[in-house]
């Protein structure tokens, strides 16, 4: 069973890494948060009862751990320094200029996401991971209609800010 958990963690590594990056800008703290999330997921997997999809279940645990991290590290500033910024995975289909532009846009997106109030941030990032309204509602503890309204509003605000930053 232990090896299954390791395989699940490896499979969802990218997803969990993106959850961590939505909450923490500092690279070292982000890595720490990712490990904390992975540990919580491993412990949570022992109690998985298949009432929802595995992805939704994992995202629930991951977001809860990230919220705890925010509350625990309240006094640590979460803005990224100049030298320390996230990079996008280099795309081999893009030329270097386009890669740099994508990198810049990603950085802008991450900064905007981290500044969002918690409900908007959660709803948006879960939507970007492909979850349905019902699944997002299940993770956040909101009604489906509330998710719809919040997502529409948040997305509009994010797109507007991204376009302003261009």
């Amino acid at each position: 069973m232990a090896t299954d958990f390791a395989a699940i963690l490896k499979e969802y590594n990218g997803l969990l890494s993106r959850v961590a990056s939505g909450y923490e800008a500092n690279e070292a703290l982000r890595q720490e948060l990712l490990q904390e999330i992975a540990l919580a997921v491993w412990q949570g997997l022992q109690r998985f009862e298949q009432k929802s999809s595995l992805k939704t279940y994992i995202l629930k645990i991951a977001h809860n751990r990230a919220v705890t991290h925010v509350a625990t590290n309240a006094r640590i500033p979460r803005s990224e320094s100049f030298e320390e910024h996230e990079e996008s995975s280099p795309s081999f289909t893009l030329n270097p200029e386009d890669n740099a532009a994508q990198d810049k846009q990603l950085r802008a997106l991450l900064n905007i996401v981290r500044e969002l109030p918690l409900p908007g941030r959660q709803v948006l990032t879960l939507s970007l991971e492909g979850l349905s309204y019902d699944e997002i509602a299940d993770v956040c503890g909101l009604t489906t209609s509330h998710v719809g309204v919040l997502l529409k509003r948040t997305k509009a605000a994010v797109v507007e800010r991204l376009n302003d930053d261009k």
Binding site: L9, N13, S17, S21, L34, L39, K60, G130
Partner: protein, 194 residues
């Protein structure tokens, strides 16, 4: 570029992935399991010295010390059972929704604030109790009407007790401050979710 959900999602997915250190997690889980067992053992062993004192020394202890030891033992045993129960439940990670998680976390931290607050105040109360108890012993020794403890022993026990109580006071005050700031942050998160 970023006018629809698909573009935004595609951009989001381009993030560089940090790797999870699975071996470190396995080591951490193993260590946590042992830590948990160790804490449970410490909890269980907590009242043992009191029981040993009562078993072997009860006829030699002054009445006041005997009463305090019995009272401490009686108070300690239910706490040990409660702590064991808490530790067993704290070990589980539950997948509840974020709103419920924040509410539970808020209550936990609020309880931690209370515990730290009461611990802090119980420390100076302990100092007063120690001064009263050993003050009585000093009075008995000096008046020599009753056989009391020697002044050196009183000074050692009193000094030790005061140093430990003061250390606990500082520690509890630090914890109270830490939990209060965490509670403020959680209150802000909670207000966003409402």
């Amino acid at each position: 570029m970023t006018n629809n959900t698909d573009d935004l999602a595609a951009l989001w997915q381009t993030q560089e992935v940090q790797a999870i250190d699975v071996e470190k997690i396995q080591r951490e889980l193993h260590m946590q399991r042992w830590k948990q067992r160790f804490y449970m053992l410490v909890d269980v062993l907590g009242p043992v010295p009191l029981a040993l004192i009562l078993y072997y020394q009860s006829d030699k202890l002054p009445l006041s010390a005997l009463i305090i030891t019995w009272a401490t033992l009686i108070i300690t045993v239910p706490f040990v059972i409660y702590f064991l129960w808490l530790r067993r439940h704290a070990a589980f990670t539950t997948a509840v929704d974020t709103q419920s998680h924040v509410n539970v976390l808020y209550r936990q931290v609020a309880n931690n604030v209370k515990i730290a607050f009461y611990t802090k105040h119980s420390c100076w109360v302990s100092c007063v109790m120690l001064l009263l108890f050993f003050g009585g012993e000093i009075f008995k020794t000096l008046s020599a009407s009753e056989e009391g403890l020697s002044l050196v022993r009183i000074a050692v026990w009193l000094g030790l007790g005061l140093v430990i109580s003061f250390g606990c006071f500082i520690w509890a005050r630090g914890r109270e401050r830490k939990f209060r700031s965490r509670l403020e942050e959680l209150a802000a998160i909670r207000s966003q979710l409402e």
